[in-house]
Amino acid sequence: MSFLNQFQQHSWQGMTDRIYNKNETDVEMALAKQGIRDLDDFCALVSPAATPYLELMAQKSHDLTRKRFGNTTQLYIPLYLSNECHNICTYCGFSVDNKIKRLTLNHEQIMAEVEEIKSHGFEHLLLVTGEANRTVGVDYLSQVCDWLRPHFSSISLEVQALEQEDYEQLINHGLNSVMIYQETYHQTNYQQYHPKGKKRNFEYRLDTPDRLGKAGIHRIGLGALLGLEDWRVDSSFVALHLAYLQRQYWQTKYSISLPRLRPAEGFQSPNVDVSDRDFVQLITAYRIYNENVEISLSTRENQQFRDQLLKLGITTMSAGSKTDPGGYTMNDKTLEQFEIDDDRTPKEVAAMIKAQGFEPVWKDWDTIL
């Protein structure tokens, strides 16, 4: 039994119809509902029928977020360890068919990055690599966790899908959270975006959060890329996935990311346009659907937009990010995964958070946990 069983009871077309058949009454019912909201409520909230209710959704999302998370925003920073990758992902700068310089950081380079990152006050770190098992496999990652554990309160990982025992090993080395985005839940089109490499295996990726749950990870990050397929449909599958996981692995915490595709090497524009308005509808729908899920915002979004989103349901933000290995000390832009769109320093982002009446939280975990 895994999410795959449940996923197979749904079809892309069926989910599409479910969303596009919703009317204003469905939206009003979803908004007025007391207690637990279900998948149909979520479908109503992301449907075109909900667009006239955007301000109301935003206010509700704001109130729910404050109640659960208070007037605070958590900060984290990504550390890109390597851009080596054997996959082709048609939207990603690290794709194996891109003729770019490849680099995997060694101990000395990593510790230089750590020193720079720590000088800004970060305690929550997200490690990122491409998929290259010989150079950045589980043993390399375990080693890196050992090096970083004394310096950070929380270590997260955004790398290839792994086996349950790999996750267990990494947890023993101090890992406490893993981001694993399905990219799209459109199984047929998934193959076109991922024509080569281990990542081609849709079902293996789909069941990765199950393996993480079984391994006893503290936190799992879910998400679909915005810009590949219809975001209303993809996000409804994320909602389905989340509800399944929360029932199954009730001791795990969940977060959702909304990576909107950015220009990258070999990739110019997304298939599907996701407007700022759509983006706001999606964040608020996730929040109203689930009061407890963390919602994370990266520097893929621009500074003005990020400042506005702070009050709409976001709980976690990155700041001062670089998306190339060695980016904090060497900054060679030819190595990067995608272009960032908010290049303020962490200090400037923290000042913006304070100016909006929120406390920037650098530490909300501890290695003893």
Partner: protein, 259 residues
């Protein structure tokens, strides 16, 4: 009014309003709210503070005369993890007061009764003054008392929900039976809820979300202070019984007094 102090372990408190320190829009606001509440005991999540460093900003803002820190173990999932973080808390914050919070469920943050009982038993032997956060379960409260809890902290409703005393029927039994102070924790969303708990005979209340996310946290903090005091006064003054109907006549027994 004569002094009405509260003793937990070997500590004495005049104020019966304890504060949580999460969710505030700034550390200064948190500080001002604690001062306005006149609170003498504030709980701090270990996960939020830099235990190894001297200069933690949260702790610095709680350096207020007469205010004691109550470290909490929020984030731990088992008794084993709780014991470890309790020891760390005592060492780095120099206090043996401990709010024991073990919630393996990160969604509703509901406490695990089995792990809490186990950890209380271990930590009581290590001379901690333990205030365990638990569901409003009267039997569990007695069991915790037996193994050395200094107080019990049953919830009024799931933490952070502001729903008020949803567990009222169980809280009444707990208050009636307890030999240690009962601190109603979690779910208190308005000063009227705090007053209600105090009127019922709770020894203290712990409030966080309702103050931290109020439009004016400092004013709300003062409102909670007054509600807690007034609820306590009403408890001492003995509230008259409620009646569903007026008792003007006695149709069935009136004949007894008739000549």
């Amino acid at each position: 009014m004569k002094t009405d102090s509260l003793t937990i372990g070997d500590r004495e408190f005049t104020s019966r309003l304890f504060l949580g320190t999460g969710k505030f829009g700034s550390n200064q606001l948190m500080h001002d709210a604690v001062v306005a509440a006149n609170s003498e005991l504030v709980t701090v999540a270990l996960r939020r503070v830099h235990l190894q460093e001297q200069k933690d900003d949260v702790i610095a803002h709680l350096d207020i005369p007469n205010v004691k820190l109550l470290p909490n173990t929020s984030g731990v999932r088992t008794a084993k993890e709780a014991v470890l973080s309790a020891q760390l808390a005592r060492e780095s914050l120099q206090t043996n007061l401990l709010k024991l919070e073990i919630h393996p469920d990160p969604r509703y943050l509901l406490p695990d009764p089995i792990e809490t009982l186990k950890a209380t038993e271990i930590l009581a032997k290590e001379d901690f003054i333990i205030l365990p956060y638990i569901n409003a379960d009267p039997v569990l409260c007695k069991r915790l008392e037996d193994v050395g809890a200094a107080a019990v902290m049953p919830l009024g409703a799931p933490i952070g929900t502001n729903q008020g005393l949803q567990t009222k029927a169980m809280l009444e039994i707990i208050i009636e039976q307890s030999n240690v102070p009962v601190v109603v924790d979690a779910g208190i969303g308005a000063p009227s809820h705090a007053a209600e708990a105090m009127e019922m005979g709770a020894d203290a209340v712990l409030v966080n979300t309702a103050i931290a996310i109020a439009g004016d946290p400092v004013a709300m903090s003062e409102a909670f202070k007054l509600a807690t005091i007034s609820g306590r006064m009403a408890f001492h003054a003995r509230i008259g019984a409620k009646n569903k109907q007026a008792q003007a006549s006695s149709p069935l027994t009136a004949f007894l007094t008739q000549a």
